[in-house]
Amino acid sequence: MTAHTSLRGRHVLAVLASVAAIAAATATFALSGGSPGRAFPALVPAAAPAGWPHLTLPDGTAVLSYPPSLRPVSGDADSVSAAQVSPKGVFRLYLNATPRQGDEQLRGWAAFRLRLLTADDAASAHELAAAQDVAFRGGTGSCVIDTYVTRIGAHHYQEIACLVQGRTSASVIVAAAPAATWAQASPLLLRAVAAYQIR
């Protein structure tokens, strides 16, 4: 009887230990947030489709092409922006190009961008994918795809932001859309990013 009880006890312990190990492993993975290592979409530099308007940076160092469904919008004096905005003022598509202004570097660009987002206007920001040595028309860049929530309005956006180094200049191109519509918006936005030309 004692031997039977001892055997049954060990069996129960073994089962419980297995369950605990599985649960702990699951919890650890969940708490780590999983891997952000999504595949970065292919960016093949190509001229913008015919009919796409262009905006040249005020310093003349890069050209942003944008779909005809977007319109130029105001921004920093040294940058150019185009957006599709709903009648109620909701940004549906957003493109921006800005000359490098600070300590942006190709190496570590993704971390820099996330830090800048949370230091500037985002309550939170999370990297989804990143890539280096991305070919651009006239240069090479580092890109990050991330999602963030704005401090004002708690708007949830997803973006691709690339620091592009040309022969004589460097600049940043940003393409964003509400996170909820990113899947639909991203092909057009990525097309605009692929058409970005730097000098």
Partner: protein, 100 residues
């Protein structure tokens, strides 16, 4: 191996399972709250939210001792139509500036 020990070990294992389960649930809850923020009405995107700034002390008062900068000083560009008045300072998408 005594029955008491077995019960104690089983209890400890159960606690581990419960603790792990709580961690997973907390993470799931955290993730589930994100879409809620995103689901907020977006029509207020361009709204110029009021910015509350601390009222400066009267000029007649003695100089106040050095105080720590408010937490919001980590944000170099004021939000709520402040600073450069970019869309991203009003709830719009962030531009590519270097925060200069």
């Amino acid at each position: 191996m005594s029955l008491t020990f077995i019960r104690s070990a089983a209890g400890a294992a159960l606690l581990a399972v419960l603790a792990a389960g709580c961690g997973t649930a907390a993470t799931a809850q955290h993730a589930a709250t994100k879409p809620a923020a995103a689901a907020q009405p977006r029509h207020s995107a361009p709204a110029h939210a009021p910015v509350t700034t601390p009222t400066p002390p009267p000029a007649t008062t003695a100089p106040a001792p050095a105080t720590k900068a408010p937490a919001s000083s980590a944000n170099p560009i004021p939000q709520g139509n402040g600073g450069d008045q970019d869309p991203d300072n009003n709830g719009g998408p962030s531009d590519g500036d270097g925060n200069i």
